[in-house]
Symmetry: C2
Subunit: 218 residues, 2 copies
DNA sequence: AATCTTTAAATTATAGATAATTCTGCGCTG
DNA sequence: CAGCGCAGAATTATCTATAATTTAAAGATT
């Protein structure tokens, strides 16, 4: 999206690669050759290596010492793990954000939610979903927490996009609405409960992925 | 500790720097010149840069695009933030670990706890503390969660070591004992409650740091 | 005297080149 | 025929060198 011009080359490369991995353009387990990528971006391989370290930190690739990096594979267990972590952290964030939520923010969230309902493909829906969560959690003013949640969210998105690549119908998001209603009524506990269940929904619906989820050994 | 010989140079550098930052040998806000560090380790600056990216991911340094990296500063708010994140995630881990906790593990944890009570300095106590938490949480078998907890733990340790540099008396750790007792009795909820409060203890005791906590603007 | 501009020094970021390690395929041996 | 071991090729990791950017400091101008 925002290809910030003043970013360092390594950051730009990491962003592009991250998008590809999330979108499923790079299959889990596939190798990422540094020379190959360096050539594609018209750079040397040094910034490519730094981009790898970044992606590694986000959990999008795994790096073995002298054997290169490959796209991280995710088992169903790992998806559930991420979902549970998200649930725990998003509930925490919501509890801190709730006192600072204004009507304007909630209205904006509702608008985003409506946009998500009309989304034509998974990617658009996922984007709206991300925006919704960010909107209602950001006022917690805990940057480290928000970054952790963001990383977990991209991990979830990977799974989602891998599962519903082609067939997809926009589901009217009742959970989001329930969360908003509870927040408007000042019932933070109720909102948190729904949020926790909502986040784990991804991990619960197996959703017959059209792309093999497990890594294959070469 | 374990300076694995087969690690890449960048990893080794990042480990050494991490230890220094945690121990407080490098003050918050101080610049890390890549050339200086490269010279000290007898290497070029390229692996140093990769080490920086690793430390950045752990939240130990902050990196501004063309202005170098500096040791991350932590305000009291950030310490509380980390403590709350730890509480949320460790409770989650404990809930999953509890069913797989054996008597052998609990006995080992008790031994570690006793060792911690006898610790002469903060560093030794902190090490025992880390071991205790790792022991009872590891059986949850959620690697991503455990790594996240570990990173948060080092952030906490930084604060702890900055606060009690010289003056220190080993406190008999009642919380650890309470957690063990509850786990032995099969009362997972009780153990989780104590754990959550215990983790946030760090953030609550201000403990008059002997080193300025806030970053100073050069 | 204070501020803005310009210039120099220091430092970061990237490129190109070199050394070391792993992977692959083939031949040899049992 | 299976298994072990040895080149050759490919790839990773690091080093040296170059380009670009920022910090600072000195000089000029108002």
């Amino acid at each position: 999206m925002t290809t910030a011009k003043d970013d360092t080359i390594a950051v730009r490369i990491s962003k592009v690669l991250a998008e590809r991995i999330i979108a499923g353009a790079l299959e889990p387990g596939s190798r990422l050759g540094q020379d190959h990528i360096a050539e594609e971006f018209g750079t040397s391989h040094v910034p490519v290596r730094e981009a790898f370290r970044r992606l590694e930190a986000q959990g999008l690739v795994v790096s073995e010492p002298r054997r290169g990096v490959r796209v991280a594979s995710f088992s169903l267990d790992e998806v559930r793990e991420v979902a549970e972590m998200r649930a725990a952290l998003e509930v925490l964030a919501l509890r801190h954000a709730a006192p600072h939520l204004t009507k304007a923010i909630l209205d904006q969230a509702e608008a985003v939610n409506r946009a998500g309902d009309k989304a034509g493909d998974v990617q658009a829906w996922e984007e709206a979903n991300l925006l919704f969560h960010r909107l209602i959690l950001k006022p917690c003013a805990m940057p480290r927490l928000l970054k952790a949640i963001d990383d977990l969210h991209t991990a979830s998105a990977r799974f989602l996009l891998a599962g519903w690549r082609s067939e997809w119908e926009a589901p009217t998001d009742r959970d989001h609405r329930a969360i908003l209603d509870a927040l408007r009524a000042g019932q933070v506990d109720a909102a948190a409960t729904v949020l926790a269940r909502h986040v784990q929904w991804v991990g619960k619906k197996p959703g017959k992925p059209s792309v093999p989820v497990l890594a294959k050994r070469a």
